[in-house]
Symmetry: C2
Subunit: 224 residues, 2 copies
């Protein structure tokens, strides 16, 4: 079986993951979520890249907006903090159990289309300190996944959570993506964009900027 | 902390779980899902029991109906099988990764309201063979949960998945519920009810009927 689910947010990391999976010749089923995020413009870019990389199917799952409101990423009453990136604490853009929920949907999708590989662009180097991006979380989820499904329990499938970016600094992710033809002007990482343009000041923008600087590539990001 | 999330489907098992959690004096946050199930009447009964057991909050999360269609439980084009209960194979009422998805939402809810306990009425004795009802699955999910959250990672919370019914035969679950005042006429287990009345012939109805017979209690189920 050479099918893969790719969790595709429309950001820099997940789009690079998509390009990597394509380069490894998987038949790709892309999965995005609309969960009330302030940066929902990313879904348009996810659609653009899903088409560019010729996925078999691109599903956008609508999550109940009322459920994920504890974060500045989704709650209009909490502003996204600017100009204060620190790698030492988990920021208020954290959404409770987000990757657990995303991976659970990916798992359901994987069993439905018989895909053994689930790509997720998590990274534990240049990241915002989210606990559900760490290798120990991913490894525990993978174990759970293989105990959860009919197909894995009956020995017909084995789920592998693929995290090719886990230990790469942002600059190396960008270099990799450029080699694979990713057009980063068609990705957005900003947590709080205006009219589809990046703010340049939230944690995610700061990490991305530094990554481009260190990569030697021109920063193609469209800023406000 | 004595707060608990109770996954409440409106069926016999989850309602017994709710009564148990109440009996243990937890402040209860009940969580139900509307996912296109043919037996969505259960949500009305979930609401009835949430009120009866005085929960702090009862949330019904709408899941994207288009996503969970691989099962006879949710897909109108597949009939629920009747009169063929067998404990030897996983039936076509199986929904891919359902409990993983449900528990992931419960986890997000748990962190938001600072509840350390998540009650789920899974059972590995008189059950339909679903892999995500087994103790090894629950244990793996619990490990994942504690690696997933900000609050657990920072040492402020520890998530415990509570499965008080795991090793009880259906008849003992019914006896327990009766002791705790559960009105089983206000629960529904049927996978394919008509106007809120149980069919009496699907796997779930058959297990429930046998449970009442073995318990010595009168079967209060409303059948068609």
């Amino acid at each position: 079986m050479d099918r893969a689910i790719v969790l595709l947010s429309g950001g820099l990391d997940s789009t690079t993951c998509l390009a990597l999976a394509k380069n490894e010749n998987y038949d790709i089923y892309a999965l995005s979520f609309e969960y009330g995020q302030k940066h929902s413009f990313e879904l348009e870019l996810a659609g653009f890249n899903a088409e560019k990389y010729n996925v078999i199917e691109h599903r956008i799952v609508k999550l109940d907006r009322n459920f994920f409101t504890a974060s500045s990423l989704t709650n209009a009453e909490i502003s996204v903090k600017k100009d204060c990136y620190s790698s030492l604490e988990i920021p208020d853009t954290y959404v409770p159990a987000r990757n657990t929920v995303f991976l659970s949907y990916a798992l359901a999708y994987a069993e439905s289309v018989k895909a053994e590989h689930i790509f997720i662009g998590v990274n534990s180097v240049d990241y915002s300190g989210y606990p559900d991006c760490r290798p120990e979380f991913i490894s525990a989820f993978e174990k759970t996944a293989n105990l959860a499904l009919k197909e894995t329990t009956e020995g017909n499938m084995k789920i592998k959570i693929e995290t090719p970016l886990m230990f790469l600094p942002k600059s190396d992710i960008i270099k990799l993506g450029k080699m694979l033809g990713v057009d980063y002007s068609k990705t957005i990482s900003c947590y709080d964009p205006i009219d589809g343009k990046a703010c340049g000041r939230c944690d995610s923008c700061i990490l991305r900027k530094k990554g481009f600087e260190a990569s030697g590539y021109k920063d193609e990001t469209v800023y406000v």
